[in-house]
């Protein structure tokens, strides 16, 4: 039996995660209507999800061809998260930022600032150009996955240094003396890497979480090495046995990176197709498949509330994960139904970890606030 409560994330897909969603008459969701995305995000928060996950789209046609029109367009992830964070209180925001198509200095500012605006509720999901091709929108020629991942590793290193370039007590703000900052607590990073030369410091104060929560999704064998440096790892949307394989491989990778196996939170994604009866759920799934002319890309489970809760529990138990990301197949109705019917069932079983007001995303996930790696003070220096 699973004993620990699970964390729940909500992976946002415009219209719904099923490619037939936008053709379904129940689809009333407009991803460009601020009122609708606000209402949906507030519903996710009210239900007790730990975070909502927004993904970027830097090559819409490539994605649409590979998956579905739902993937074609949506508002940009950082602006969307900041907008919605202002209208929520405790929900975490995990936002993709692509290391192949953003300058590291810009990415560091965006992520650190989102952490300030959300009062420590920000997570950055590192994506690279290896996930999907966008080079043709960035005046680049397509590189190999190895090149994209090497670049990603260097960018992650740079961001971790830039986030630490201002110490927590860098600000003095003494009106009487006129000292605003302590220059000894602000550090250039002098990064000289294979691809980047960044002097620093960042022009943003250290994020409230110290280091923004770093997430990464396993999309290939090359993903594990960089995921081993993350706080939050998304194992993908797969059946329980495959999730188990990935979870085991991930724990090995974390150990190989010299970290404790339980220092990383592992999540699996699931697409729950829910109805009042098992038959109605199957019928809805068949309807969506027929409208799309294909099935959904991912681990789809269909059933009534009890069956969905059973399968989520089984996925967590067999997969050995800390949390589940819900991808609603059809918005807003399938999110509303999940919140109304499945969430109470999971809570009744003690499987739902409820986030608290005033806590950071690290607090919610049970992750420590890291020491500053650039401090010159012995009493604060991170143990290496």
């Amino acid at each position: 039996m699973t004993t620990k409560p699970l964390h729940f994330g909500f992976t946002y897909t415009p219209h719904g995660a099923h490619p037939g969603a936008w053709r379904h008459p129940d689809s009333r969701h407009d991803p460009f209507d601020p009122a609708q995305i606000t209402a949906q995000t507030q519903a996710v928060e009210a239900a007790g999800f730990t975070f909502i996950r927004f993904q970027d789209q830097l090559a819409p046609e490539a994605r649409a061809a590979a998956h579905a029109p739902e993937a074609l367009a949506r508002t940009e992830a950082f602006t969307t998260a900041s907008f919605l964070a202002t209208r929520t209180k405790r929900l975490g925001f995990v936002v993709t930022g692509n290391t192949s198509y953003f300058e590291p200095f810009n990415l560091a500012r965006l992520t650190a600032s989102l952490d300030h605006v959300t009062h420590g509720r920000a997570g950055w999901e590192l994506t690279s150009g290896a996930s999907y091709p966008a080079a043709r929108n960035y005046s680049q020629t397509e590189a190999t996955p190895e090149v994209h991942y090497a670049r990603a590793a260097e960018v992650l290193d740079i961001l971790r240094k830039l986030w630490d370039s201002w110490e927590d007590d860098a600000f003095i703000r003494n009106k009487a003396t006129g000292e605003y900052v302590d220059g000894d607590r602000i550090h250039p990073i002098h990064h000289e890497g294979e691809r980047f030369r960044i002097k620093g410091p960042l022009n943003v104060a250290r994020p409230p979480q110290g280091q923004v929560v770093v997430a990464h999704e396993i999309t290939s064998d090359l993903s594990y090495a960089i995921a081993a440096q993350a706080d939050l790892v998304f194992l993908g949307s797969h059946a329980p046995a495959e999730i188990r394989n990935r979870a085991d491989a991930m724990r090995e990778a974390v150990k190989a990176a010299g970290r404790a196996a339980d220092s990383v939170r592992l999540f699996a994604d699931v697409i729950p197709v829910l109805a009042a009866t098992p038959e109605a759920a199957k019928a809805l799934l068949a309807d969506l498949n027929a409208r799309a002319g294909q099935s959904a890309d991912g681990y789809v489970i269909a059933g009534d509330a009890k069956q969905i809760a059973d399968q989520i529990e089984a996925l967590a138990e067999t997969g050995g994960v800390n949390g589940i990301n819900i991808r609603s197949p059809l918005l807003p109705t399938q999110l509303e139904a999940f919140v109304e019917l499945v969430v109470p069932e999971l809570k009744a079983r003690g499987l739902w970890a409820e986030p608290k007001d005033g806590a950071t995303l690290r607090d919610h996930l049970g992750l420590d606030r890291p020491a500053n790696r650039l401090t010159t003070r012995a009493d604060l220096k991170a143990a290496v």
Partner: protein, 463 residues
């Protein structure tokens, strides 16, 4: 009563535009990273029906800025800030500064178009290319590009960004999320971009573009592409010459003179009485740190915003052509100094008198501190009671030296509230300024049409 209406922006430097603004007793000294405070100030500006709130930007930091420009030392990233401010307001335009030299067009088009959707058509992009020599070191560059390269790059950057904004048919998304988007297949000197954008056409069609600059290339870019231009004009004749030049260039590019609003910066120090306003002005300047007379070390300049030299008597001596080294900072200035001062010195004295109502004779005397601060180009502003400040604004506006002002808050939030509460109602009563917004978008505030889509298959008429 003229139909022409003033436009106001608020240049939001969280610690104030005065170098010591944050030291004022009521100033909110933690402002730069306090998003709720940013929201509050934006709401004050929206209550005063401002056209826009302006978020400046830099791409580097240096602790040395703390005594010259603390607001420029560190801040929240502007796109993230803007999205939060949009969520906390309903009408005011929100301007984000982004430097194309250090960004990709696809990202800028993506961020700006998204901000326009989230804000319901209130997004704007302030296109800057310069003022950031030290940024190169944060972007793996050996040097900051020269003006020609930066503007060649910026010209194509704007062109391709507009194409990306137009890469969706007007109502394509609503009908069918797939069919209305198209590749732009841009192949230029600097950029090869297929498109389409991953965001449908912004509510404003094209985001409002702001620009500032005095070089020939900058004026051309502004006259061709900008909807709002920030101008620096020390006096009405200089401001008018700039204004006339930009409007003439706009016509040359096939635009109407009314398509561009030219807004010089202005720092109002206003209080119910003139004496109270001067007292605030003096208090602000009393906090400015006087530099040592050691001239060996070059004063560090940070673009055009860093002042005109050290804050000491050596700089005064160089500026006015009279040796005053060794005088006491708070000593009153000998009338002989004014008599012997060169032309720049005469101007400096006149400027100080205009702001402080002090002179080298009479009951209220100019001190060397006044000279030091004025010579360093700091502590500027229009100081006076509400009527005096409103008169100044009306005078510039009616002289067609400007279409309004970009208001610089010396410190926050008091100078913003004072302007909103004391000056705005006078301008409204004079029929010079809106009592309410005429529409929900930034283009509405500026009286600008929504541009037609340049790429659409069946051309949709502009509304």
């Amino acid at each position: 009563m003229s139909n022409r209406q003033l436009h106001f922006g608020l240049m939001f430097w969280a610690n104030g535009t005065h170098p010591s603004g944050w030291r004022m007793p009521t100033a909110h000294e933690t402002a730069p990273f306090d998003i709720e405070f940013l929201q509050k100030v934006t709401q004050i500006a929206e209550g005063a029906k401002f056209d826009f709130l302006f978020l400046g930007d830099r791409l580097a930091s240096d602790p040395a800025l703390q005594t010259t420009n603390p607001s420029q030392m560190s801040r929240l990233e502007p796109f993230v800030s803007a999205a939060s401010l949009a969520a906390a307001t309903s009408h005011i335009g929100i301007v984000v500064t982004a430097n194309p030299t250090y960004y990709d067009p696809y990202n800028i088009a993506h961020l700006t178009a998204s901000l326009d959707h989230l804000s319901g058509g209130r997004a704007s992009w302030n296109l800057v290319t310069g003022a950031d020599e030290i940024a190169a070191a944060n972007f793996s560059r050996d040097e900051h590009w020269d003006t020609e390269k930066r503007y060649d790059w910026a010209d194509e950057f704007v062109e391709v960004t507009r194409k990306l904004w137009d890469s969706w048919d007007e109502d394509a998304y609503d009908a069918d999320p797939v069919s209305g988007a198209r590749a732009i297949n841009h192949q230029g000197r600097f950029f090869n971009i297929n498109g389409p954008l991953a965001v449908k056409r912004p509510p404003q069609g094209h985001i409002v573009i702001l620009h500032a600059g005095t070089s020939d290339r900058s004026r051309e870019l502004g006259a061709r592409d900008a909807d709002v231009i920030f101008a620096a004009g020390p006096n009405i004749p200089a401001a008018k010459a700039y204004y006339d030049d930009i409007k003439a260039r706009a016509k040359k590019h096939g635009r109407s003179a009314d398509d561009i609003a030219i807004l010089p910066g202005m720092t109002p120090i206003v209080a119910p009485t003139t004496a109270e306003a001067v007292k605030i002005y003096d208090q602000l300047n009393s906090f400015i740190q006087i530099d040592s007379e050691d001239t060996a070390e070059e004063h560090r300049r940070y673009g055009a915003l860093g002042g005109r030299g050290k804050r000491n008597l050596s700089n005064v001596t160089r500026t006015i052509g009279v040796d005053v080294i060794g005088r006491g900072v708070d000593e009153v200035v000998d009338p002989l100094v004014l008599k012997e001062a060169n032309e720049d010195g005469q101007k400096l004295f006149a400027q100080i008198t205009e702001r402080t109502r002090r002179d080298v004779t009479g009951a209220n005397r100019i001190t060397y501190r006044d000279l030091i601060i004025a010579a360093a180009g700091q502590g500027g502003g229009v100081v006076g009671n509400p009527k005096e400040v409103a008169d100044h604004i009306e005078h510039w506006f009616e002289a067609r030296a400007c279409d309004g002002f970009n208001i610089f808050p010396a410190y926050n939030p008091d100078t913003v509230s004072a302007f909103a509460d004391l000056v705005v109602p006078i301008l409204q009563n004079r029929g010079l300024y809106r009592r309410d917004y005429s529409g929900p978008t930034f283009r509405d505030h500026l009286g600008l049409k929504r541009p037609a889509n340049s790429l659409t298959r069946t051309v949709v008429a502009a509304e």
